[in-house]
Amino acid sequence: MELTRRDLLKGAAALGAAATVPLTAGGLAVAQTTQKKELVTAQAGDISKFDPHFSTSSNDIRVSFNLFDNLTSRHPDGKLYPGLATEWKLDDQTTWRFKLRQGVKFHNGDAFTSADAKFSIERTYDPAAKTMVATVFSTIDKIEAPDPFTLVVTTKKPDPLLPARLAFYGGQIVPKKYVESVGNDTFNAKPVGTGPVRFGSWVKDDKAVLEANPDYWGGKIEVDRWTMRPIPETAPRIAALLKGEVDIITQLPPDQGERVAGNATTRVAGALYAGLYVLGVNSKRPPLDNPLVKQALSLAIDREAIVKELWRGRGIVPNGPVAKGDNHYDASLPPLAYNPAEAKERLKKAGYKNEEIFIETTVAYVAQDKAMAEAIAAMWKDIGVNVKVEVVEYSVRAQKNREKSFKGMWWSDPTSTLGDPDGMMWRLLSPGGPMDYWRDARWDELGSAARFSVDEKFRAGAYKEMSKIFLEQLPWLPVIQPYEDYGLQKYVEFAPNPNQQFEVRRFNLKLRRA
C-alpha cells in the first residue's frame, strides 16, 4: 500500500490545486458508453444480513434498500417521494393516513397489501422479534389497515416526521405471509421484497448476485443483473475499478480521488454526507464536565487544516450540531472557530490542572479517524493539554458504546436519518439515548417539545436555541462534514445519496449506451 500512496502523493503534487476542482466535472469530455447488461459494484465489507430489520450497517443497507421498498422514498435530492405509499396526509394532529400503491407484487408473487405494511412496521418494535431498529418508530401508538390499500397510523403525540422516518431504516416493507411461514432465519437467507432487484445468490465474502425484478412498479432497472462484491482493501478496490472489472466502488478515500479522476475511463462522484464526524465527549468525567475545557479543546482544533490536508478539501467545517442540508440548518452561524490563544485563555480560566484527556480512536471506523485523532492530539498538546491517544478495536468500541464507558472522547459519525435535527442530535443525545453523557434541563425540554410539534416555526426556534446551548456545552466536538466519494466508470450515470442509501432504481442509475 505504501507504494500506491507514494505514487499518489507524487500525482497529487503534479496536479497542484486539484483538490479544489470539483471532481465530478471531469467526466463529460470523454463520453463513454457500454453495452453491459450486468452491473458490478464493490464495497469495503461484505453484507452480513439481508433482513432489513436486523441491520443498519451501510454495507447491508446498500443492498437491502433495493431488495425492499419503503412506503416513502428519500431521493438523493433530499426530498421525499412516494414509495409503496402514493399519498399521505394528516387526518388530525396524531393521525396519518397513507394511500398504498395497488398492483404491486412481492418477488414470490404474493400481492402487497396494507396487512404487509402494518406487519412490517409493527415487527420493528415487537419485543419478541428483537430487531435492530426497535426504536425507530417509538412515536407510534397504533396502526390500522381499514382496507387493503389504506394504512392509518396513530402516533402517541404529534409526529411531523413520521413520513420521513418511514423512508429510512426500519421502514422497509417485508411480506407478512412469507416471513410468518418460513421464520426469520430462512427469510434472512432467502429474502423476498417488492424492490427493483430480487435475491439471486450469495457466497459469503465473495459476492451477492441480485436479479432485476422485471415487473418492478418503478420500471425495470438498467441491467439484468447486479453483483455486489466485497473488496476490503482500498488499493485492490481501486485497481478493480481502473481495470474495468467493476462499475462502481464505494468508500473512495479522499487521498485517492485524483487517481480515479485522473484515469481516462473513470470519474469521482461525491455527496456531502448527511451527518457529521464528531468526537463524542464523556461530559461526566472531569475535566470534560467543565464546558470551558471543552470550549478550549474545540477552539484548539484547526478544522480548516484537517479538511485541507487530511481530506484534500473533500469536506466542510461544521458550524454546530445540525448537518448542512438538514431542516433547520442555520447558514448564518460561522464555521467552528480556530483560536489557540483564546483556547489557552479558557483552559486557564477553567483551572485545568494537566489532567489526562483520552481520545479512544478506532482505525477506519470512520474514514481518516486515526489520522484525525493524531492531528487533533498534536493541536491540543500545543495549548498545553495532557492528551493521550489510545487505539481500540471495533468490538471494543461497540462494547464501550453500549456500556457508555468511554474514558474521554471517541469517533462517531452521527447520521441524519430524517434530514432533521430530531433524527440526529435528539436521537443520539436525548435522555436515555445512545450518547447520553450530558444533560441540560432546558435543552431536554426544547428537544422533547420540538419532536412532538407540527409547528415548523416553533421547531425552528427550538433548534436554534438548542444549537446555542450545544455550542456552549459541547456534548460533541463536531470536526468535519465530509463528502462521501464513489468511483464510477464514465458510462455510469449515478447520483450518490447523502444518507448512504445506494439507489439503483431507474430514476437514479443509468448506463450510457452506444
Binding site: 500500500m1 505504501e2 507504494l3 500506491t4 452480513s48 428483537k130 430487531t131 435492530m132 431498529v133 426497535a134 426504536t135 432465519d185 434472512n188 457466497v203 459469503k204 465474502d205 465473495d206 459476492k207 462484491r229 466485497p230 473488496i231 476490503p232 482493501e233 488499493a235 485492490p236 485497481a239 478493480a240 481502473l242 481495470k243 472489472e245 478495536e393 471495533y394 468490538s395 471494543v396 461497540a398 462494547q399 458504546n401 453500549r402 456500556e403 436515555g432 439515548g433 445512545p434
Partner: protein
C-alpha cells in the same frame, strides 16, 4: 517394516495432543477477549435481554463447565453454533474451506515445484550470476511483507500488464496472483534451504566416490544428492505449511478471497467463539496432517528414523 506401527501410533498420539492443546488455547483466549452479547443486540437493549441471550448461548455457566461441554461436543464433531451467522459453525466454515484449500495447496505446490529446482540449480552453479540472482530474489521473497507483494502484483501484473484479474475468486486466472503472493515466502525459504542442503551433500565423500567411479552427473544429482538432501527440505516444507496458513489472512484480504483466514479475523472481531474455534481447529488439523505425512516420508527416506 519392523517398528513402523509403533512409530505411526506414537506420531498419531502426538498429533492428538497438539489438537487438544490448540483447541484449549483458543477456547481460553476467545473467552478472555470479551463478551459477544453486546455486539449482537441493539445499543439500547435492556439488561434483562442481555442476560437472556447470555443464558441462551450458554455463556452464563462457569468457565470449567463451558469447557467440558465444548470438549465433549468437539469429540462428537460438533463445533457449536455461530452466533453471528445463526447456523452450525462447521457449515459456515465449510463454505470457506474449499477456497482456502484451493489457494493454500496451489501456493504450496507452486512453491515446492519452483523452489526445489531453483535451490538445486543454485547449488550446482554456486557463486555464478544465476546463483546470485536466484538467491537475491529469494531474499526479496522472504523479506517483503505479504500485503506489499500482493498489491505490487496487482499493480504490475494485473493493472499494467493486464494478465490476471485484480481480485476475487473465479477460474484459474484468479488463482495465480494470490497463490504467488501467498507462496512467495515459502518458495524463498525452500529455495534457500534446498541450496544449502544440496551444497552440504555435494561436499560429502560418497558424492566424490560416485563421481570417481564414473557415475553420470545427472545420476549423481538425482540419486545421491537429492535423496540425501531431502530430509531437511521435507521438514521445512512441512513446517512452511503453517506459515502459509498464517499468511492466508493477509493474502485473502488483499485479493478478497473468501477463505478461512478472513473468516477467522472477522469472527474474532465479532467474538463468534464457535466459528473461531472451528476455524483454528481445522487449520491446526491441516497442519498436523501435513506434518504427519512429513514424518511418514522421513520413515520412507531414512530407515534409521523409523527404527529409532
Amino acid at each position: 517394516m519392523r517398528g513402523f506401527v509403533p512409530f505411526l501410533g506414537h506420531r498419531l498420539f502426538r498429533a492428538l495432543i497438539a489438537l487438544w492443546l490448540v483447541s484449549t488455547v483458543v477456547f481460553v483466549v476467545m473467552r478472555l477477549s470479551g463478551d459477544p452479547v453486546p455486539l449482537l443486540l441493539p445499543p439500547d437493549a435492556p439488561h434483562s435481554e442481555i442476560m437472556r441471550v447470555r443464558r441462551e448461548l450458554g455463556l452464563d455457566k462457569p468457565l470449567p463447565v463451558q469447557y467440558v461441554i465444548f470438549l465433549s461436543n468437539l469429540a462428537h464433531g460438533d463445533f457449536g453454533r455461530s452466533i453471528h451467522f445463526r447456523e452450525p459453525a462447521f457449515n459456515v466454515v465449510r463454505g470457506y474451506l474449499a477456497a482456502t484449500l484451493e489457494l493454500g495447496l496451489t501456493a504450496f505446490l507452486l512453491a515446492a515445484l519452483i523452489a526445489v529446482p531453483i535451490g538445486l540449480f543454485s547449488a550446482m552453479r554456486r557463486n555464478t550470476l544465476v546463483d546470485h540472482a536466484a538467491m537475491g530474489l529469494a531474499l526479496i521473497g522472504q523479506s517483503a511483507p505479504t500485503f506489499f507483494l500482493g498489491i505490487l502484483f496487482i499493480l504490475l501484473l494485473s493493472l499494467k500488464a493486464d494478465l490476471f484479474p485484480t481480485s476475487g475468486r473465479g477460474d484459474w486466472r484468479n488463482l495465480v496472483l494470490p497463490a504467488l503472493t501467498l507462496g512467495a515466502f515459502t518458495m524463498a525459504s525452500i529455495a534457500r534451504l534446498t541450496r544449502s542442503a544440496v551444497l552440504e551433500v555435494l561436499g560429502a565423500d560418497y558424492i566424490r566416490t560416485a563421481r570417481a567411479k564414473g557415475v553420470a552427473e545427472m545420476w549423481v544429482v538425482a540419486k545421491h544428492t537429492l535423496k540425501n538432501a531431502a530430509i531437511p527440505i521435507v521438514t521445512i516444507t512441512g513446517l512452511q505449511f503453517g506459515t502459509l496458513l498464517g499468511g492466508a489472512v493477509v493474502t485473502e484480504t488483499v485479493f478478497s478471497w473468501p477463505g478461512i483466514g478472513r473468516l477467522a479475523v472477522q469472527s474474532i472481531y465479532n467474538r463468534d467463539y464457535a466459528v473461531v474455534q472451528c476455524t483454528v481447529f481445522l487449520a491446526a488439523l491441516m497442519f498436523v496432517v501435513i506434518n504427519f505425512f512429513v514424518d511418514l516420508i522421513y520413515g520412507v527416506l531414512d530407515p534409521r528414523i523409523r527404527a529409532g
